[in-house]
Amino acid sequence: MSIDKHLVRKASLEKLFAVLKLQGKTMYAPLLRNGKISYEITGNFADVTIEFIQTTQSAKVAAFPRTEKLFNYTKDKEGVSVKDFDPNSIPETVVWGVHPCDAGGISPLSAIFNWDYKDNLYNTRLERITVIGFSCNKADEYCFCTSVGGNPGGVAGNDILFTKLGDSSDYLAEIVTDKGKALVNAAPELFEAAQDVEKEKYLADVPNRFNREDIKGKMEAFFESEVWAEQSMRCLGCGACAYVCPTCACFDIQDEIHGKNGMRVRCWDSCGFSMFTMHTSGHNPRDIQSQRWRQRLMHKFSYMPDRLSVYGCTGCGRCSRACPVDMNILEHLISMQEIKK
């Protein structure tokens, strides 16, 4: 479908936020806490961080929360009764202020959650999310979206994409989907006619750093190489990279019960943890950190494209920024590209 374009004044952003809130939507927006930006629920536009190169946590939390109830049950002497998840309990949600790398993360996440079996918890949440994205005017050395098929002004995954037009207080608004159109209809006075605007000249410069298909081939060819151990010696095996990543979806399933009322939940997990693949027998197929590091990279750059036709990395650079020991994924991908033996 063709993309409508509008001009939106800076002051109108706050008005749009208010309109959405008035509609009863749950607003996820980038909030600053202890110097780090994460997507949290807020009603106050004044708290929202507008200018940033990257947030610490991704926006996936709106569709794939860190802990999520699967269903409830009661259990006593008489037996067990189960109460299913109620889709109507999921509110209409707006995720405000995502960059194209996060919006681009929806595609790999949806691929995993709909692979043969359709995960209706994820799908319900996604259905009720409207994504309001902002193009990137600035980037830094951690960003590499253009190397993985992304773009600092990419519309994929967004319902509306705003691009700041330089120092003027105006934004170009691209209405990408029907959901976006519905938003425009809710506050049409905020969306003015757009002049002809060359979006590209306001976008950040993100140079291409590697060829994705080359790296995939190298990884597969060098599965047994020492390079994985060399790269991962300093890795501590925490879950920071997986948790801040917009496309990581590994999870654990746990039961929690108090008295006779209980629930089964799923929560984030990471293939980097040493116990991730541990069998009850004590056998651990990936008991060395280098195997787990290899799994992380190959899952994103080899297994996912082979099985789900989508790469598992959007080049947001969050993992590299969050890692306490400077495991920089861009650095490691480039060295993979250059590997000769």
């Binding site: 946590q57 501590l236 929690e256 890692c323």
Partner: protein, 266 residues
């Protein structure tokens, strides 16, 4: 740091050690741990005020141990961790070479672990003014207010366990959170579960934590974990005296002295 580089090179060339654990330049303005096995690579070694990661965490890792005997670049916080690890029987003087770095960035080596203990007596761990202020504020809170404070501070935690992974004293091959018979600490991250994890970790570090700050530095969402560990240390100091490991006596919480206060029982 030519002195350091030359010494490291010498150790590798003579095969006294098979591995140097030190710092190298990372991406941007970061530094990071480096593992050097070839003498010519010792030129990568650096040391400056940015090098704050506690390298002692690697001394208990299997992947590192397999490389052979290490030499470790050890500024004062790392020296403290090494003494604590020795007091807990995780290493001996003979199992590694310690390349101590003074606060003036000079290389210093020690003949025994006891010498390091004596050297560390020159440095006392004091709270910074800002930390003192916050801890005093917390002390003045009622139990309900304190509960609310910590629930709020810890609610963003998503259980990535970077704090545990970065701590040199969290070397348990199977952490208490990994136990599921029984499940002492819930796996999912939610308000209560987060509080349980952090309190449990602080408890397990009581009397052992050397206040290196690695946990707070590692936390990707900048939760002020150091408040918990510092408060624990202050409480321990009040109850049992200055907190430090003793190579002769072991851990503070795993030893009993006849003159320990018993006013909570008697």
């Amino acid at each position: 740091m030519d002195e350091l580089r030359n010494r490291a090179k010498e150790l590798l060339e003579s095969n006294t050690v098979q591995l140097i654990i030190g710092f190298e330049q990372g991406n941007g303005n970061k530094t990071r741990a480096v593992f050097i096995e070839k003498p010519e690579n010792t030129s990568k070694l650096i040391f400056d005020s940015r090098c704050v990661q506690n390298l002692a965490v690697y001394l208990t890792k299997n992947e590192v141990k397999r490389k052979g005997k290490p030499a470790i670049v050890a500024p004062v916080p790392v020296l403290r961790s090494i003494i604590q690890l020795a007091a807990e029987n995780q290493l001996t003087y003979a199992s590694l070479v310690i390349l101590g770095i003074t606060p003036e960035s000079k290389l210093v080596e020690f003949s025994t672990l006891e010498d390091i203990e004596t050297y560390l007596d020159n440095f006392t761990l004091e709270l910074e003014a800002k930390e003192k202020e916050i801890l005093e504020k917390i002390d003045k809170m009622s139990p309900e207010e304190r509960w609310k404070f910590w629930i709020n501070e810890l609610s963003p935690c998503f259980k990535c366990y970077a704090c545990r992974a970065a701590c040199p004293l969290c070397y348990c091959t199977r952490c208490t959170v990994d136990d599921n018979q029984p499940q002492w600490i819930p796996v999912p991250s939610h308000e209560l579960g987060n509080l349980e994890w952090h309190i449990m970790r602080a408890m397990h570090l009581a009397g052992r934590c050397t206040d290196c700050g690695a946990c707070a530095d590692a936390c990707p969402i900048a939760i002020p974990l150091n408040l918990l560990t510092k408060k624990m240390r202050e409480d321990m100091k009040g109850q049992f005296g200055e907190v430090k490991a003793s190579l002769k006596g072991g851990n503070m919480m795993s030893t009993f002295k006849p003159d320990d206060k018993e006013n909570f029982i008697l």
